[in-house]
């Protein structure tokens, strides 16, 4: 049962890094890929339908830690307090930017604009750049924090936050991997000028090949980091796992199918803006 619980944890962690890594990486590259407000909205549309379903893999990972490895969750989260607080704050800021960006006064739809108080939407000029800034900064903070967290895991000290040169190098390397993954995702999703810019980053390899390569790395890195952790030893009591793990194993294929449906429904490249 412990082994199955570890496998589930690895599956959801890898799923988070591969899927959410793509939209976080694209968010990191937002100012590079989209030079105008309109282009940035297109870049966001490339991951808009997915990011809500992507980030929930991390919630599931945290839930699995709480349910199957409660002791380890406490050690890891308390030890990584200084890393996780910025990570969560960055995540919140980023998501706020994404959800709120398109909610500024739209042309002709804002009551003030409709009343003739200025033809340019009042909030749009400040609002949307501010939201874009939140998305970019939030995405970088999340990616860098993951690098710092992974540095502790690779060093075998999940209970203390990594510091020093090693932590800086790991944070930058992992952030670069997130960005490369985002560039690959952008090059399979976008069209027009943002697409051309994403292609400049992925080089002459086929778009899908670059995305698949960074995707495998994104799955491999957290799983490798997790191999050294004392997970099986700190698993929850047998009575808990005997009920929890089978239930989660039964539901997981349905979750994957529902997510697969999302990816299939929105598989086409984007050429226009979305709700965000």
């Amino acid at each position: 049962m412990e082994t199955l619980a570890v496998a589930l944890l690895g599956f959801f962690t890898a799923g988070y890094f591969v899927l959410a890594g793509a939209d976080i990486g694209t968010g990191m590259l937002l100012p590079f890929l989209g030079r105008t407000d309109r282009e940035r909205r297109l870049v966001i549309a490339s991951f808009a339908p997915f990011f809500l379903g992507n980030e929930v893999w991390l919630i599931a990972t945290a839930g699995l830690l709480a349910g199957c490895f409660p002791d380890f969750e406490g050690v890891l989260f308390t030890g990584q307090f200084a890393v996780l607080v910025p990570l969560l704050a960055g995540w919140m800021v980023r998501d706020a930017g994404l959800w709120l960006r398109g909610r500024a006064s739209g042309a002709g739809r804002d009551p003030d604009a409709a009343a003739g108080r200025g033809s340019v939407p009042r909030g749009g000029r400040v609002w949307r750049p501010a939201c874009d800034g939140a998305v970019v900064c939030g995405s970088w903070v999340v990616a860098l924090s993951w690098g710092r967290l992974l540095a502790s895991l690779f060093a075998g000290t999940p209970g203390t936050a990594a510091t020093g040169a090693g932590a800086v190098v790991a944070a930058l390397a992992v952030a670069a991997l997130f960005a490369a993954h985002g560039a690959g995702f952008a090059s399979v999703r976008l069209t027009g000028a943002p697409y051309a810019r994403a292609r400049r980053l992925t080089g002459r390899t086929r778009a899908w090949r670059s995305f698949a390569l960074t995707g495998s790395l994104m799955a491999a890195v957290p799983v490798l980091a997790g191999l050294s952790l004392p997970l099986a030893a700190s698993a929850a009591d047998g009575a808990t796992l005997a009920l929890l793990v089978p239930a989660l194993l039964v539901i997981t294929p349905f979750l994957v199918a529902a997510q697969g449906w999302t990816w299939w429904a929105f598989r086409h490249r984007v050429s226009g803006p979305s709700y965000l």
């Binding site: 309109r38 909205r41 808009a48 339908p49 997915f50 809500l52 379903g53 980030e55 929930v56 893999w57 919630i59 599931a60 945290a62 839930g63 830690l65 709480a66 349910g67 199957c68 409660p70 002791d71 969750e73 406490g74 989260f77 308390t78 307090f81 200084a82 996780l84 607080v85 969560l88 704050a89 919140m92 709120l100 398109g102 909610r103 739209g106 042309a107 739809r109 009551p111 939407p121 749009g124 929850a236 009591d237 009575a239 808990t240 009920l243 929890l244 239930a247 989660l248 539901i251 997981t252 979750l255 529902a258 997510q259 999302t262 429904a265 929105f266 226009g272 803006p273 979305s274 709700y275």
Partner: protein, 359 residues
């Protein structure tokens, strides 16, 4: 929440994680995961799926929201009234899963929250509809109907909420006598329960803050009283189309009443959670013993960061809710056909290039 328990309350996950963590895990994976996936499909899937498929998606979101509430309250119910456990090596171990899943502190609260959530929705929909009828916006039919939906939902929801609330108050005398005594301001009972608990658990202060406990309960009960008058009058008035469309004083009252269910819900939670202090797991683990071993500076910094972020988000969200509520159903931004080719618009605003919503 899953992060918060590990970050700030690792004493709780360490001591009670075997029982309490499992329901949280089920909530994230069985309810929240499905909810987020289908909410994404629904928000971005307008005009991409058949009408019925698209409608079914929001029903999946609705059902998983109920599931979410159940599992969260199983976790919270265990903290308020631990059942189905035994203690082994200084930690709690799951002994009887059925007892945990049918904990009265979870089931009664589930009924109460379920009714309260529907009540909030009813008052919200009725208040927004009343605003449009008061302003005489063009969608008379639409908002006349939605006002009736809101009002006719509020009344039964209020009855259900009150019934479960009453049963909980009665059960409280047995489950958490201290909360019950502080709420009723029975000084003699408070002293008796304090002496009982000191005898059972050792010396200490077992009396929760009266200001929070009683204050929360009073806010809840006063909001309930006001809502009951409004809901009772509402079901009568809503039977007359003339009143629905023309009774402007009623429209104003419905608009003013939108904050009431929010106050009641928040007051009720404060009553429930402040009133069980000093326990984080009632009778088993004290709140002060559950706090993570983190430096006070770090804890203060995280509290400041998250409080600020949530306060900003709450203000922005409230303002956006008001702004979108004032717009008609076509100008919300949801439901536009974003598959349409992205033509250039004169003002260069991409939002302008989306065709209007149809409903």
């Amino acid at each position: 929440m899953e992060f918060q328990f590990g970050l700030s309350w690792s004493g709780l996950t360490h001591y009670a994680g075997n029982v309490f963590g499992a329901s949280l895990a089920v909530e994230t994976i069985v309810a929240f995961f499905v909810e987020s996936t289908f909410l994404g499909l629904w928000i971005f899937g307008w005009n991409r799926f058949g009408r019925w498929t698209h409608l079914a998606m929001i029903w999946v979101v609705t059902l998983t929201a109920y599931l979410s509430a159940y599992w969260i309250l199983v976790s919270n119910g265990f903290l308020n009234h631990p059942v189905g456990y035994r203690v082994a090596d200084g930690k709690l171990v799951l002994d009887d899963a059925v007892a945990v899943l049918t904990n009265p502190a979870a089931l009664l609260a589930f009924g109460h929250i379920l009714g309260g959530a529907l009540l909030t929705a009813g008052f919200f929909v009725a208040g927004v509809s009343a605003h449009h009828l008061f302003r005489r916006t063009p969608e008379r039919e639409f908002f006349g109907r939605s006002l009736r939906v809101g009002v006719f939902l509020s009344f039964p929801a209020l009855v259900v909420t009150a019934a479960f609330g009453g049963v909980q108050l009665t059960a409280l005398a047995e489950l958490q006598p201290m909360k019950s005594a502080v709420f009723r301001q029975q000084a003699a009972d408070v002293a008796r329960v304090q002496a009982d608990m000191a005898a059972r658990f050792g010396p200490g202060d077992y009396v929760p803050s009266e200001a929070w406990t009683r204050g929360g309960a009073l806010v809840m009960l006063i909001a309930f009283g006001l809502m009951m008058y409004l809901a009772l009058a509402g079901v009568v008035l809503a039977c007359f189309p003339r009143a629905v469309h023309r009774f402007r004083l009623w429209h104003l009252a419905l608009m003013a009443a939108v904050p009431l269910p929010y106050l009641a819900m928040t007051g009720g939670w404060v009553f429930r959670e402040a009133g069980r202090q000093p326990w984080v797991v009632y009778g088993l683990l004290r709140t002060q013993d559950a706090v993570s071993d983190v430096s006070p500076a770090a804890m203060r910094a995280s509290l400041a960061v998250f409080t600020t972020l949530f306060a900003v988000l709450a203000v922005v969200n409230a303002r956006l809710l008001v702004r979108y509520a004032r717009r008609g159903p076509t100008d919300t931004g949801l439901g536009r056909d974003d598959r349409a080719p992205d033509g250039d618009t004169p003002d260069g605003d991409p939002a302008g290039s989306l065709p209007a919503t149809r409903y």
